[in-house]
């Protein structure tokens, strides 16, 4: 099915949820409100003529200072049976930085959501195991946010694990292996 036709179907079904439909280089993206995201995703997954059985990708984007809502969670859906794809974008504000998890619709969403939480601090409600995944468990801050520095001298604010490593190196300086006599 053509991406525009899919967008029309979703628009007919959920007219109040759709905020914007955009097309760029043959790919259609639909911006929606986040409140009924799970219901919409379930509909896209279960309806036979759409049948989006494969979640290609799930990621966050930070639009600080560019859009009214700071974050967007972007879902790329693909149907292996019908060979069509669609991009769904759910807007998430900074004050209410959470969205419903879809890990029980696509099992593959589990780790993608964990990564999105790790990198952007977006909380996925109903996720079975929302922990940090790429960064250390006691890391502070969310690295892929635009206001997170690429490189900075943090001094005392430095990550605990790094400080411990430095201390161990300092402590072992001048250490020599004792010769067996």
């Amino acid at each position: 099915m053509e991406p525009n036709a899919i967008a029309e179907i979703i628009k007919d079904r959920y007219p109040t949820e759709i905020k914007e439909i955009k097309e760029f280089r043959g790919q259609t993206s639909i911006a929606i409100k986040k409140d009924r995201i799970k219901e919409i995703m379930k509909y896209l997954h279960d309806t036979p003529e759409l049948y989006f059985d494969y979640l290609q990708d799930l990621c966050g984007v930070d639009y600080i200072g560019k859009k009214e809502m700071r974050f967007e969670v972007v879902y790329h859906l693909y149907s292996i049976r019908h060979r069509h794809m669609i991009r769904i974008k759910a807007e998430v504000s900074e004050d209410d930085c959470s969205i419903d998890s879809i890990a029980d619709i696509w099992a593959g969403a589990d780790w993608h959501e964990r990564e999105c939480y790790d990198m952007f601090g977006i909380i996925f409600k109903g996720h079975p195991d929302l922990r940090r995944i790429l960064m250390p468990e006691d890391w502070e801050g969310y690295p892929l946010r635009k206001d997170y520095p690429l490189k900075a001298d943090l001094g005392e604010m430095e990550w605990k694990g790094y400080k411990e490593t430095i201390q161990t190196i300092e402590k072992n300086k001048g250490y020599e292996v004792r010769q067996k006599t």
């Binding site: 760029f24 280089r25 790919q27 993206s29 059985d53 494969y54 979640l55 290609q56 990708d57 990621c59 984007v61 930070d62 560019k66 972007v74 790329h76 292996i80 060979r83 794809m85 991009r87 696509w106 099992a107 593959g108 969403a109 589990d110 780790w111 993608h112 990564e115 990198m119 995944i133 790429l134 960064m135 250390p136 690295p143 892929l144 997170y148 690429l150």
Partner: protein, 397 residues
Amino acid sequence: MIGTEIKTKELTISMGPQHPATHGVLRVVLDLEGESVVKCTPYVGYLHRGVEKLAENRTYLSALPLTDRLDYISSLSNNIGYCVAIERLFGIEPPDRAKYIRTIMAEMTRISSHIIGVSTHALDIGAMTLFLYSFRDRERLIDLFEMTCGARLTVSYPRIGGVRNDVSQEFLDKLYDFTEEFPKIIEEQYETLIDQNRIWLQRTKGIGVISAEEAINWGLTGPTLRGSGVPYDVRKYAPYDAYPFVEFEVPIGKNGDVYDRYKCRMEELKQSNWIIKQCIEKIPKGPVMTPDAPKFTLPPKDRVLSDMESLIHQFVLITKGPIAAVEGEIYAATEVPKGELGFYFVSDGSGRPHRMRLRAPSFVHVSVLPRLCEGALLPDVIANIGTIDIVLGECDR
């Protein structure tokens, strides 16, 4: 003594991150009851370098070498994925010769990656000899890379709008010789070593079974998905480069176990070999960089030294990135040896991407590990890690 109760207790062991069978720095915490796995929790992130964040702070042209360091066994495929995504984003069309060269290179990478994948997998579960043979053949391919790119592993050979330099006739001849010999090597040396090996068969057949629906639901791609009988291949479903011009088949398995996934990889070796052969026969003459996009591609060096406009273009491209970048977003997927490598770019019209998202197949494949291992035996964990064919550099990014 008969009648004495044996005391049992659950045991938690941590496998990795320095375990040789985890193919890198993967840590798996296993709760064991005797020898069967009750719970399996993978921990990743030991190789996290922040490639996405780094790419957002570099121009489109200078972030290319970062992609070499993702899946370092098949770095050229990642480069191609990156270039294809940016070409789609900005509407650039590489010339035909460049497309063929890229296809040849991508398939060479696929061969070298699959023979490593299969042979290290075999090494892990008790068939060592294949490893020695496969490294001999991989060496030939790597020498060919060196001949064209100058580098052996981190090649950075494709460019946005083409490839860096043309290939020589000597390269094509040597590669053609390789494709003539390779099917025989597969049949006589690889398959006879493994296919009748009783240990190998017992440790792979019926292990790590995943059904087609479930595999799709988990987001598996590549041979890991095709072993379950789903013919999804990006080269067929959303063709790029020269794949529409060549013939090839997508091998699929039936049972979705470790053995079928191994079989898929073996068949793909033959198909890749066939694709390379067709490409060498069909490759057209012509330029290897598109001349139509001077605001995205670096001009040739001799033009920079003689032509004012080219000099300006080169200066701005290096310092600020593409001059005529448009606003928009694109998701472009390519079929790398491990599965589907997706790049999602959000462009805000400047020379740097606003957001570069990398959908790495290995990341998704590690996430399925608990599903495959729980309820199985401890030795099957090793077989399952081998069969999903992961590279942690790509998983952790």
